[in-house]
């Protein structure tokens, strides 16, 4: 029995009826079975592809991508996932198109979706706005479908919003699961999600938020560490607490990077902007207050610079479990002595973890494909079984 069939049989045991024709905003919207199903399908699709099986679900159809911020890896992951399933990625570039000229989101959403099966949106720039935009967009196509304008109801894949970054954090976690030899080995593992210094400013909060909102579901001991003033959204901390309670793990906070790293099995040191400052920035942008934005940026950079000791150095790594914690990063990292003078991580640490870091990233296309698969395929178990059985190859010669 192939791995794909084994995984399909596991999928059969999960309660996933609500995933079909549904959207993926945040991991905490999803049940444990649904999260499990995403991992299962991601692994199954990977196994099928490795065995040169054709995994196309669609003969035609579009996967619309909307990136309201620059992106290489997420863009390519989404394009790869669409291609794997037979969809054509069609980017909606808001600078080129007429959207800038006063079209409402609702109108645009319908206009681009006549033949769209999937919508992938990244909108992480402004606290309070990213999720709202995704929701408005999808509510519009949902209404369009109900009104008979759209023949099919395209499903959302959140490619990063201001609250969560589910494709990233699920790829991170699938990597962790495989690294530790299975989800059953994660219980009791200590995870240090810590802030780290970067010479840039204004990095999104969605990664730390996504990590504490997801990793706490695995019965792990998740520590969120950051200097005072770098708080994340309180709503997400609440979710992390409840998750921890429900799974017998823990969620704690500290203002000491050392404390977080001490005996950690997994470390995720990464820069982000203070939540309150990001809220202020959003307001300044809405008011078009350029002087205010510049002043805020200077203030934040100065604030950052007070915490240059928050860096994933060799000394810090030595504090972790056997000095060998699994180092995670969503990339690109600010690497001291390589991409900047002082940054999130020592070059020697980063370099030692290159292979696992790239493997971590390699799960993202499959996570996205699994999200699309489960939202679009009515009988995913049968589909995986048939793909496994059929003599249909990805590379035919």
């Amino acid at each position: 029995m192939s791995k794909a069939v084994e995984l399909a049989r596991h999928l059969e045991t999960l309660k996933i009826n609500d995933m079909y024709k549904n959207d993926f905003y945040w991991t905490w919207d999803k049940t444990n079975d649904e999260i499990d199903a995403i991992f299962t399908v991601a692994d199954a699709l990977r196994d099928l592809r490795e065995r040169n099986k054709n995994t196309k679900v669609f003969n035609s159809g579009l996967g619309i991508s909307i990136f309201r911020d620059n992106s290489t890896r997420t863009r390519f992951s989404f394009a790869s996932a669409c291609n794997l399933l037979g969809l054509k990625e069609q980017p909606l570039d808001e600078k080129v198109s007429q959207i800038a000229h006063g079209e409402t989101v609702r109108e645009t959403a319908n206009m681009v979706s006549f033949m769209a099966d999937v919508i992938g949106i990244r909108d992480d720039m402004f606290i309070g706005e990213g999720h709202k935009y995704q929701k408005t967009f999808i509510d519009a196509v949902d209404e369009g479908y109900r009104d008979g304008i759209l023949e099919q109801r395209p499903t959302l894949v959140n490619l990063q919003c201001d609250v969560d970054h589910p494709t990233q954090c699920m790829a991170d976690l699938l990597h962790v699961i495989h690294h530790f030899g299975g989800v059953e080995n994660l219980k009791g593992k200590k995870v240090a999600m810590t802030w780290a210094y970067s010479p840039s400013y204004g990095k999104p909060l969605s990664v730390p938020q996504g990590v504490i909102g997801l990793f706490t579901r695995m019965g792990m001991d998740v520590v969120l560490a950051h200097p005072e003033g770098y708080e994340v959204m309180p709503e997400v901390e609440e979710i992390a607490k409840k998750n921890a309670e429900a799974t017998g793990g823990s969620f704690t906070k500290t203002n000491s990077m050392e404390e977080a790293f001490q005996d950690a099995d997994i470390v995720y040191p990464k820069s982000w902007a203070p939540f309150a400052a990001m809220e202020e920035r959003t307001k300044l942008y809405q008011q078009g207050d350029k002087a205010g934005i510049d002043a805020l940026e200077q203030k934040l950079l100065a604030q950052n610079a007070e915490h240059k000791d928050w860096t994933c150095s060799e000394e810090m790594m030595a504090k972790t479990k056997d000095g060998k914690a699994l180092y995670l990063h969503c990339l690109p990292a600010d690497i001291s002595g390589l991409s900047c003078d002082e940054g999130e991580v020592d070059n020697s640490v980063f370099d030692r973890y290159l292979v696992p870091l790239y493997k971590q990233a390699s799960y993202k296309p499959y996570i996205i494909a699994a999200m699309i698969f489960l939202a679009q395929v009515k009988d995913p178990v049968r589909a995986l079984m048939e793909m496994d059985k059929k003599d249909d190859e990805r590379k035919m010669f």
Copy 2:
């Protein structure tokens, strides 16, 4: 018998031999049977897609798109149509490419067409130039095909030129046909194609021209209304007159929006620039006379502002047949109190017609697909029949 088969049988009765390997510039180049064929194939493809049939015609091949003006909806419609038929849309971005550096149109046309089956061009900016560019481009690939440079002869879909906007106006008309329950119900219906005020200037004339050139073929009473000075191309008015004579309808002109709206079954209020001013603008651009262009813009904006009463208000809508005329717009509209202070249409009117407006737009991908289909498929009746019969699905799982 499915709707697609029914439509294929109707297609069999039409004389459409000249459509194969031919281009689509203007609707008035086409016979009534040919126009009918486009509508028939568009409806058939829509029925097949709604029934999850695979409608791919090509296993490989490119659909080149050239947008010499910004576009969202037409771009996505073209990409969707290509994808539906198995072609890959390949945009030729003239800003990125070397075309700006003195390549002739003829050379570029051949260089991008080695594996192109379709060329879609939008060039609506300058009176006297858009159609010319399309013609030059297609003449070049035609010559290239005859000279043995190209293995196949790509066909043109006019995605909007300075004279006509056939994919828009045919989508508009197909929407009207379905709204009134069939082409046989259109005879005697009154259509008000009227100018409306917009705070912007320089909108293309191709929509009003396309509408009067096409809707007059259906035996309808088409009224073109605009303030003095906003005349459209006289050649197209001539076509509208002849069409009306041939079909027992009428084509009239007025300088009163009220008169046009009175008892109208269909209203299409939309801003456009005066033809003569657009001719002047083209010359100024050719001379690189920036001061002249700015002066003209100011003059035109001032001229526009004298006609702010030309707006599709609730009062105006009340004059139409039972106060319930079908409101059409090619979108995006300038909506008073929503996208601008004073514009083409009241927010309450626009909002009431949202669903039909989006349905109107939903026909465009199918109209484009039908144009490609009829230009590329040798035996379109057989193709539709086989697509209907085959156990080949668009979404396979």
Copy 3:
């Protein structure tokens, strides 16, 4: 027996084991059999496509394209080749993506390649840098493949570097082979690869270098002509010399365009920048010395202007064999009296050769497809045979 089968049988006689899973940097890396194989597969794929055979190798997969310089024809050739084989061309636009923000090439290479089968790179701007970039990129994915990060090992197609332009020069040569009725007729033919005046400056050296490095393998008499100071890379001249010795042809140099054109069977007059100046320019860019760059540009333009007599005029063409040498150009050309006042070629000469020039260009998509095919298909002979035999059409209706 079809032409494709005939070509497949010829392919069977060639020693091409090393091509599978290998890269294409420079033509002189390849054995004569390997060069022959590319031509053979290019012709076979063209024959299959002309007979409407489906030539897809892949059901899914990406062909990443990286253009670090503007491009229309090479971009479309690569996209066409990918599409012909079933791959989706996915451009990596370095201006839009995060690459500009300090990602290393190694990281990017892996991040975009998770589902990539082919990488096409054009990087011809800076002497000493283009090839280096390609090598670094491919070394990274090779390492990624060995480390188990990538499931497949994407292969490189050099779409132009600072040293060679193999897809261009092989398309040029295939055109020459067909023009003269077979490779066996090339022995002893005189080829004039000559510099020509252009009002622009800084054109890459990869075309003249590629031509002398490739055409000398055919037993032809290759003359490289340029004004003093316009030398190409000495390493490539060495290769040309050795090739000529091995095949019984010759490689000579002259500073007289007349001498080169005298009795030539083939002429390739084209502007390029002096190698030494390009080396200097690369250093100035690395130092960010803008004043130095501007001064160099002025110096080079003045130097160019001293050689306006180096142009492919009617007088010059009259000196060639029977006045009818085959005129080659990679396009776009600087055409005197058409695209510029004084340029590389007289309008009347260029115009007379339009059809052969476009044919020359038409080979490029097939050359690229053949490079991909031979690097990706394990048993290319069987694949061509099956494609020929199967009832599988490119255009299905």
